[in-house]
């Protein structure tokens, strides 16, 4: 206690004796040296001695962003405000004077590396704890979580008195609990260790492990051990939930990819090897849309969905009318013809766009993750895609069950000749079905553009998976496709941690092959007299 008070008094003396120490300007001179260790010492020094200086956060932030330079001639420290080719526009960091634009050869950058930036972030976090902006305070307190000691605790207690945001308060309290568990009185420690059990964060687990290994007190050790076991059980439970989420997410991608195929394969018994390219076209539609309206990225995905449906559907109908119509009843020729079409489509895209991958931007509302607790966080893009795939499924189901077009499609699927006899134009229905199937694939492409690379080879990566799902689930049956997609997704994700990505795929393939031996028609085969052909 006495030592702590002496430390505080000395620190305060340092704050209030600027006359006896250097100015901030003088103290950052060593930044002109290139050693990262020197720069580290400078940062620690200026934070210690100049925390009241309003320019300190400016210096640290500029350095962090990589915009702190100094002139080779006068060693004047400047902020880089603009780069025009080789000409640099700069302002003096202390006086704010704008310098004449000069070539980059007149300046030298104060370089940072990973380690230095971590230290700067930590120091800035301590300074930013009292910033006016909530976001700044939130990110700073998250950074401080990694470094809990006496000094940080002083700041935490100070901040708790004035903080208003509940998210920040909960992290501050977490820090306080961690501190008390390590450095508090016996009673405080016992209470804190029990409290840590509820927090579930990696930080709490770490603290508990440190306490358990270093403490000599039996009671504390036992309590820490029970807390650790409790956290680890919770963590494995949440880890299971997380894997289940990953499985759902992969299942949703499989569902979107396979849904269109289930319809074309189911209705027309056409093995469409160009199905993957329909997805690729949907993804490129998203990319083109983003190029056309670069200022509306946030809405681009929403608009891309119907657009991709239309574009892919049109391409599908064209393929059906030009090629597939002539090859009905000849599955091998259809397979070869659609394979050829897939190659043509890939090459068209390579020639029109480029053989390289294209960048599709993710809108802000789809980035990041939803942190449910310290052990479970779900990424937004995958969450939205799961919801989206279910919506698409429901939409397709409604179209097939509730519309007249859907009725005709189902009739043709069950018994083509009978449907013809009832007056249904099977040729038109075939074209519409192929169009719908391709359109759904296009919509799948929009979702895929957010998850994977958009390039001419995008379709090739998903064609095998689509066929696997359709075969496993039962040709022509939508519910079969849904269940098959999610089952395969879950199995894949549960095997992957143990066997690795490559082996997991192999195991799934073997599983499907064995399953098909037992039930050649898939999980939910079609019923109906004529369905046996």
């Amino acid at each position: 206690m006495i030592l702590k008070s002496i430390k505080i008094i000395l620190l305060n003396l340092l704050f209030f004796t600027p006359l006896f120490s250097n100015t901030l300007q003088e103290d950052i001179q060593p930044f002109t040296k290139s050693s990262f260790k020197t720069k580290q010492k400078v940062v620690e020094n200026i934070v210690l001695n100049h925390s009241e200086n309003e320019k300190l956060t400016l210096v640290l932030n500029t350095l962090l962003k990589g915009n702190l330079y100094f002139t080779k001639y006068k060693k004047e420290f400047v902020i880089l405000t603009k780069k025009e080719g080789k000409i640099y526009h700069t302002t003096n960091i202390f006086t704010g004077d704008i310098l004449e634009p000069k070539t980059k050869k007149m300046f030298k950058k104060v370089k940072t590396n990973n380690k230095l930036r971590s230290i700067i972030k930590l120091k800035l976090a301590e300074l930013n704890l009292f910033s006016k902006e909530e976001e700044v305070r939130l990110s700073s307190v998250k950074n401080m979580l990694k470094n809990i000691n006496e000094d940080s605790q002083i700041l935490v207690l100070k901040a708790l008195k004035v903080e208003t945001s509940s998210a920040i308060i909960s992290i501050l309290e977490e820090m306080s609990v961690n501190y008390k568990a390590k450095f508090g009185t016996q009673e405080e420690k016992l209470k804190a260790i029990v409290a840590l059990k509820e927090l579930l964060s990696p930080q709490s687990l770490q603290t508990l492990k440190e306490i358990e290994s270093s403490t000599k007190d039996e009671e504390i050790k036992k309590l820490a051990q029970t807390s650790i076991t409790s956290i680890e059980t919770s963590k494995s439970f949440y880890s299971l939930l997380e894997t289940a989420f990953f499985g759902l997410s992969q299942g949703s991608v499989l569902l979107l990819a396979a849904l269109g195929l289930a319809i074309t394969f189911g209705v027309m018994k056409v093995i469409n090897m160009a199905h993957g390219e329909m997805m690729m076209i949907g993804a490129y539609t998203t990319y083109t849309l983003q190029q056309i309206m670069p200022n509306f990225i946030e809405y681009s995905i929403i608009i891309a969905i119907p657009l991709a449906f239309l574009v892919s559907a049109m391409v599908g109908v064209i393929i059906e009318r030009l090629v597939i119509r002539h090859l009905y009843g000849r599955p091998l020729e259809t397979l070869l013809a659609t394979f050829g079409i897939s190659l043509i489509l890939q090459q068209i895209v390579r020639s029109v766009y480029s053989p390289l991958n294209q960048e599709v931007k993710t809108p802000e509302w789809m980035s990041g993750a939803w942190e449910i607790n310290g052990a479970l966080s779900l990424t937004y893009n995958r969450l939205y895609i799961i919801i989206f795939s279910l919506l698409v499924f429901v939409a397709v189901l409604l179209v097939l069950k509730k519309t007249s077009l859907g009725l005709k499609v189902r009739a043709v699927t069950q018994n083509r000749e009978m449907a013809q006899a009832m007056g249904i134009k099977t040729g038109f229905i075939d074209a519409m079905t192929f169009g719908i199937g391709s359109g759904i694939a296009g919509v799948a492409g929009v979702a895929l553009s957010q998850l994977t690379n958009v390039g001419p080879n995008l379709g090739q990566a998903y064609i095998v998976d689509s066929f696997m799902v359709v075969v496993f689930g039962g040709v022509g049956n939508l519910w079969g496709t849904l269940i098959a997609a999610f089952t395969l997704g879950e199995i894949n994700k549960f095997i992957e941690p143990a066997a690795g990505a490559v082996l997991a795929k192999v195991i799934i393939l073997i599983f499907i092959i064995l399953f098909i031996q037992k039930r050649p028609r898939g999980l939910f085969p079609q019923k109906g007299r004529d369905a046996e052909d």
Binding site: K111, N114, F246, S249, Q250, S367, T452, K493
Partner: protein
Amino acid sequence: MLKNIAKGLSIACIVGMTMAVSAADTIKVGVLHSLSGTMAISETTLKDTVLMMIEEQNKKGGVLGKKLEPVVVDPASNWPLFAEKMRGLITKDKVDVTFGCWTSVSRKSVLPVVEELNGILFYPVQYEGEESSKNVFYTGASPNQQAIPAVDYLMNEIGVKRWVLAGTDYVYPRTTNKILKAYLKAKGVADKDIMVNYTPFGHSDWQSIVSDVKKFGSTGKKTAVVSTINGDANVPFYKELGNQGISADDIPVVAFSVGEEELSGLDTKPLVGHLAAWNYFQSAEADVNEKFIASWKKYMKDDKKVTNDPMEATYIGFKMWVKAVEKAGTTETDAVLDAMVGVSVPNLTGGYATMMPNHHLTKPVLIGEIQEDGQFETVWQTPDTVVGDAWSDFLPGSKDLISDWRKPMECGAYNVKTKKCAGQNY
């Protein structure tokens, strides 16, 4: 009438003869890089680099008074086709040297052909080592010129204690990780602090792997990922790291196969702060580099073109070949092979590259951080150049092997303990 015919015939003869003579007066240079298929993205740039250097050399009068003539073939990312095309280049087109290959599997495919037909191949890409051929010059980095110094940087400057070795599933990452694991263990890193993971080419679902990396890295010990992930699987990998909230300051990733060319088509925001290890960055400050970048942009008529490490390796290889031919006074293979060892040319980072007896170069090692504009900023550099080791000192089967192609040893895999020369390991 007859007089006219005679005149015409004689003119035709003279023209024909001069054409035949001038045809014999060019030196043919083979270019064996994929111009289509998955590797086209990376390899087309190298084809253009060789063509640019040939054009520049011809402006200086060619080599030994003869002009250089490029012979460009397209092995289309098809590994067996690489071998076929190489055979065609040497036997049919009669090239005196070839610049080519990118993936290790393409090089392994060409190796028996170039040795059987006694050709010369310059291989410009960083690779896994464990090979040395009389007919191949390796101008890219071997593991001790890229992977090992990168691990040293992470260990010493960043203080990394736990390691994730993530790679694509083929020979280069598997062999490199074998070497790195042995190296880490030799430095006292425990087995439980090393996590190894392989994924197929083009893998896009990184959720579980990144989640595992996150768990592996949240024990309080500084963790880093050493990535030999190749190709476009890198994009969803870095994106997933960003989505799951892992920044470069939390768990840095150092990549060996991500360069300026790969970054030029990406949204670099989630990658800023991550690292790469090469022997050259476009941002290297040297006058010779600025000239090279300027002439490259002018040659490609595109101001946005970038330069990268394999281009520098191609540049060094070409300059060395020219120097060796001038030293030997002929393009005849054996004479050039003899003259090549010891040849020294300036590299593009302000130093020199020398061809060593094991057919590898001396190269500086640069560790750089990815910037938002897709360039690298050097954060660390070896004080001197590092000599390339064909045979890793950290693998039990290789540490007793050395390679020396000078007379009298003339062996690519000489065991210093048993004093025997092993043959080529195809």
